[in-house]
């Protein structure tokens, strides 16, 4: 049951436990490890029925690249949305975007990134097709080459397996 992914998760949860306790001593570390193992065990056995570490494995470099690009895009799109609000002449549209990603986790992270980016909200996800609510002047098409922002996310998330 204990594999490399599970050990990494236990270390991460213990670090969060230490952070929440704002103390670093033997008791806090041991109680952190204890609660991490218990929570991971119940997640595997009761909630998922499979190994959490294998189902939701995201490499650290992928998540770091994803977060950095996401924060950059959030601020960039946020600034471009200001004139639209001030002018007040906006229209919305709903477009279907077909993503080449295969992993359900990667598609969910892409939908999450789209909703976090100001000016776009993912309304629905059906397999590889995402219905996106956006401003009328946003250039979102089915062609990943034209929709450069999303294709960059897809490059980052492409390494994730389903």
């Amino acid at each position: 049951m204990i594999n490399r992914g599970a050990i990494k998760n236990i270390c991460l949860f213990t670090l969060i436990w230490i952070l929440l306790n704002e103390k670093l001593n033997g008791f806090v570390v041991l109680s952190g490890i204890f609660f991490s193992v218990i929570s991971l065990y119940f997640t595997d056995k009761v909630l998922l029925g499979k190994s959490y570490s294998q189902l939701f494995h995201i490499p650290f470099t992928t998540i770091l690249a994803y977060l950095i690009y996401l924060i950059f895009q959030i601020f960039k799109s946020g600034l471009t949305a200001i004139p639209k609000v001030i002018k007040g002449d906006c229209r919305v549209k709903i477009v279907d975007y077909h993503t080449p990603l295969n992993s359900q986790l990667a598609i969910s992270l892409l939908a999450n990134a789209i909703t976090l980016t100001p000016g776009t909200i993912t309304i629905e996800k059906k397999g590889n097709i995402l219905s996106i609510l956006c401003f009328d002047d946003e250039e979102i098409t089915d062609d990943p080459e034209l929709t450069t922002t999303f294709s960059k996310y897809e490059q980052i998330l492409g390494s994730l397996k389903s």
Partner: protein, 102 residues
């Protein structure tokens, strides 16, 4: 001293952003436009506020906790916007422009 001003800059930036968002909420009458604007407030405004607070707190447990709050928000925040927009769509709410096109 530079960190103090940088932190203040981010907090003031976030407050200006939230103010513009609130103006947008009152100005637009369409539900879908309003939800796009409110999603903008909660992402850009809140993130800028948290970055400002991290800079002001310096290297401490408090700033790491704020970072943790930011990470949790980044993964859970879109769910609310998605759920509200989806429920409107599923229940057949049309924006004024869709009604005109029909």
């Amino acid at each position: 001293m530079i960190f103090l001003w940088l932190g203040r800059f981010f907090i003031i930036f976030s407050m200006i952003f939230m103010l513009i968002g609130i103006i947008g909420l009152f100005r637009f009458k369409d539900f879908y436009l309003r939800i796009l604007i409110s999603a903008k407030i909660e992402t850009v405004g809140l993130l800028a506020m948290l970055i400002g607070l991290i800079i002001l707190s310096g290297v401490s447990f408090a700033s790491l906790k704020i970072l943790l709050i930011g990470l949790v928000l980044m993964f859970t925040n879109p769910l609310a916007s998605h759920a509200i927009a989806r429920s409107a769509r599923v229940n057949g709410y049309l924006s004024p422009w869709e009604k005109i096109d029909d």
